[in-house]
Symmetry: C2
């Protein structure tokens, strides 16, 4: 055991020295069940897309060279050799001087290299007059112009949204290999907390952190294993539950029981669950100072403060980036906006300080950030009503009114 | 049937005249299963949070009045009447001149109104000396200071994220009433398209839109019912499938088969599936012109263009806002950023034009938007590689290099 306040950056580095967050395996899923999951392998195309020269107009497939010089007064005349419909293969023998009727999406027959739009032609029996020249490749999507066989079209680590799903489908794949989500055990401790849904005895309060963290873990690509509330005063029970959580999950997150009072057993227990044990006990941030982190034989245990705002903020700062790496995400969440401050934001001397803020748009559409509340970190409503937070460095005294700041948003709707 | 190009705003208004998007019912769910769903009722607290005056320090509960004037040289001396632990009810009789030992999180006994920090005291037998005065309410969270009984703490329409989950748990609720997700049937048409996973005959291409739209609907709070590919050339089959889709879902979305070629049957069929029938056939936007919308006896049918980029863009512009309203969301998705243009963006004369862009940050952290590709709207890779789009009004010729634009992002990670 030791008591030393690390800076936030030192704390992150300390974790990195002992724990290397990596994806924990892959799953092969039907494509339609993979929305929101993370691609586990680069995807390389085994086909050309489109797989043929595809007309983008209704009209005639031609040799572009035959149309050169055509205009309203001197149309070029070609012989119509047949027609190709959408979804058909054009098995026509076409040469110079020939044209083939074609619709949007149909394949150009071999021997043609462009399409003439219907409105620039007139047909009489088996001959058409063309009033406007086309260049080679005009009005068609060439074979392989979207995707070429052998192209790497998607990179490992991308989250599968509508656009990536479309790309995979374009290659003809109906299954995809994605990373397994990390399993995260959530466990609240504290003699005073009671699970929601039960009656509330005098002197007790309802457990907020379990539910807030369930959502936060899901939002960070984790899969939740909830252990509910474990009374803090029963050391043996608490240790047994923590061991059970370590067996069941890849990461264990507890909240409560990390301050320096006489009953703060969690740091002591997590120190002895495996090697190397406790690596962080206290970080110089506000709110959130009483956080502890242990590594137990390759598994991560994060003990968050009991106060809901501190708990969620420290989760966001320390645990979320690790969960995103373990879920294989190659790109960061982008959830920031630039805003001008409406208030002066003060820091806690020597500690990285996080101010919860509300943002609104002024009449020019620019964002303005104002302090959400000066309330205590225990107040869940302060957090629930805030839109995001602003960060002050350890050596920064304050941010003045009218300065530009980066707001880290809690979610994607305002 | 009619052929008239409406402007985008006229098209939206036309839909609004005939279709009023409303949530379709509610579900009562365990709180932990409600992450990401939309709250169906305002939530009012039946309790005070905290439910008692709660100490925020380790020390002594006192009457603040007893400590007035105390300093290092003239400490105030009080009699220690006992102790209160966390999670306990303080059933002590405390009067002026008394102090009670207390820990962080424990309830202050009746008769006390503040807490003195341990480090500002010294204890000798049953008496403590206090070296620093406290004011009334200091070092405690007062009963109801976070949430008062009767407070409306959350409003209908909010999406349940970690912070809202925390608030609901704080009230002791382990269940919550949320809006049912709208059911959305997805159906692709076209003689040339083949479902991914099957072999690709000559002249055919793989269906991209079904999978792209499955993800887009899920991202818009919808529940997907997939009908796969329906061959466009079989009128009876297509009509039967569309009727089946209408029965199975609240909204039907088709793609393909809306251009003006000889086989474009979808607008004709959706016009006769119910009253009032077709309300939109063609919108003056680029890409995406060939879109059709019908209302069939209170259900919405949106026929998107076949080209993947057009299809997803029109979905985002016309269908997504309706699905969000039907899912009960009170707030809009915020997925925009302000950027400076790196290219000149040209519009299609007289049509609302959407330019797909990539964004990057310059060395000052400001965003720069450049055109993703000048490729055709059929190219899925153009869309997959873009970060978002920029909008040009019908009467705007171009946006010049260096202008500030709003970028509508496709998703939340860059």
């Amino acid at each position: 055991m030791f008591r030393k306040l690390l800076s936030l950056d030192q704390a992150k580095q300390r974790i990195e020295e002992h724990f290397n967050p990596q994806p924990l395996g892959t799953m092969d899923l039907p494509l339609m069940d993979a929305v929101g999951l993370v691609l586990a392998r680069d995807i390389t195309s085994s086909i050309d897309v489109p797989p043929f020269n595809r007309s983008t107009v209704d009209g005639y497939a031609v040799s572009a060279e035959d149309t050169f010089g055509a205009d309203e007064d001197n149309p070029v005349t070609l012989k119509v050799r047949g027609s190709v419909n959408i979804g058909e293969l054009a098995e026509l023998l076409v040469g110079r001087g020939d044209a083939v009727e074609i619709v949007t999406g149909a394949p150009l027959p071999a021997g043609t290299n462009a399409a003439v739009m219907l409105e620039n032609t007139s047909q009489k029996n088996e001959r058409i007059s063309i009033f406007k020249p086309v260049s080679k490749g005009e009005n068609m999507m060439a074979l392989g112009s979207d995707i070429q066989q052998g192209d790497t079209v998607l990179k490992q680590g991308v989250v599968l949204s509508s656009r990536e799903m479309g790309v995979i489908a374009a290659l003809g794949q109906d299954r995809v290999e994605v990373f397994r989500r990390p399993k995260v055990a959530i466990l609240s401790t504290g003699a005073e907390i009671v699970e929601p849904g039960k009656s509330l005895p005098p002197g007790k309060i309802y457990d907020i952190n379990t539910y807030a963290l369930i959502a936060a873990v899901k939002e960070s690509n984790g899969e939740v294993v909830s252990f509910g509330v474990v009374p803090e005063d029963d050391v043996n029970m608490l240790e047994a539950k923590l061991k059970e959580a370590l067996d069941a999950a890849d990461v264990v997150i507890t909240s409560g029981g990390v301050s320096v009072g006489p009953k703060d057993l969690v740091p002591k227990i997590i120190d002895r669950l495996g090697k190397p044990g406790l690596v962080i006990h206290g970080v110089a941030i506000k709110p959130g100072k009483p956080v502890a982190v242990a590594i137990a034989d390759g598994k991560l245990i994060v003990s968050l403060p009991g106060h809901p705002t501190s708990s969620l903020l420290v989760f966001t700062l320390l645990a979320q980036p690790i969960l995103l790496k373990m879920s294989g995400r190659g790109r960061k969440l982008r959830n920031i906006l630039k805003a001008t401050t409406a208030d002066r934001f003060f820091s806690a001397r020597g500690r990285r300080t996080f101010i919860t803020v509300n943002v609104s748009q002024d009449s020019d559409g620019h964002w303005v950030a104002s302090q959400a509340s000066t309330g205590q970190s225990g107040a869940i409503t302060t957090l629930a009503n805030a839109d995001g937070y602003v960060e002050l460095a350890e050596d920064q005294q304050f941010i003045d009114v009218g300065e530009e700041v980066t707001v880290y948003l809690f979610k994607n709707s305002l």
